[in-house]
């Protein structure tokens, strides 16, 4: 793992937690959505907070794809678990949600549990993938590009 790759994981963490917080801020201002009127969910996309949240989540998605291209799914998800803490802090101090002591303990437990996973290897090496020459990857990209 290089510094650049850790930076990608940091971007995944920040954009995901801030994006979700923006979505929550937007949906709370719009009020509860009824299942009888699903079109309200589409309309919600065009509200400022939800729109800003979507922009952040697009950034999350791009960095998430980059991370998945060099690490296992079961490595990327725990490695970005600090987002739970950021999200809870934002919910408490910015959205003024009630976050009980139990929820704080839950967030800490999640973070403690998944945080140490980053000490392990980031990628499962499959024999087939190891045998695959770099040219094979290049050829498939060129085919896609054509």
């Amino acid at each position: 793992m290089t510094f650049r790759r850790y930076l990608v994981l940091a971007v995944v963490t920040l954009t995901a937690s801030c994006g979700d917080t923006f979505l929550s801020r937007g949906m709370k201002s719009l009020g509860p959505v009824s299942l009888a009127h699903p079109a309200e969910l589409i309309q919600a996309i065009f509200s400022p907070w939800v729109g800003a949240g979507i922009v952040l989540l697009i950034g999350f998605f791009a960095s998430y794809l980059t991370a998945l291209s060099f690490a296992d799914l079961t490595y990327v998800l725990p490695a970005t678990s600090l987002g739970y803490v950021i999200m809870t802090v934002l919910a408490k101090w910015w959205l003024h949600e009630h976050v009980s002591t139990w929820r704080w303990l839950g967030v800490l437990c999640i973070t403690a549990g998944v945080g140490f996973v980053t000490r392990g290897p980031s990628r499962t090496e499959h024999p087939a993938a190891l045998a695959k020459p770099p040219e094979a990857v290049q050829t498939s990209v060129e085919e896609a590009w054509r």
Partner: protein, 130 residues
Amino acid sequence: MNTGPMLLATIGMIAAIVVTATAGDILIASALRQIGDLDVIRARHGLTGAAAAVVTNSRFGLGVVFLALSFFSLLYGLSHRDLSLIGPAATSLTFVTNAIAAKIFLGENVDRRRWTAAVFVCVGVALLAF
């Protein structure tokens, strides 16, 4: 704490997000494994080449459809429940289901360390309901 129908509705909202997000994550991780390291591809073919390699992969397309379904389930959930409950519960439960699905469908080495982490996450999620 939630009780009765309210608790069932909360579980339903979280389950919808978790199931669709897991399907989307597994499909997209599988697609990226097929494609290869995006940094390497970008170095050789530029940003457009990397983007083309991703968007022309059919498995990636199907994954995006599931993630879109997950997104709208999340919006619905956030309009009814607190972010501090829906957000961590849905995303951390997705971590557990992803660990199981990644072992089965992607053949990832989910070792003791990763399973222990999954147990910690489950306990954490249980605490979030209080």
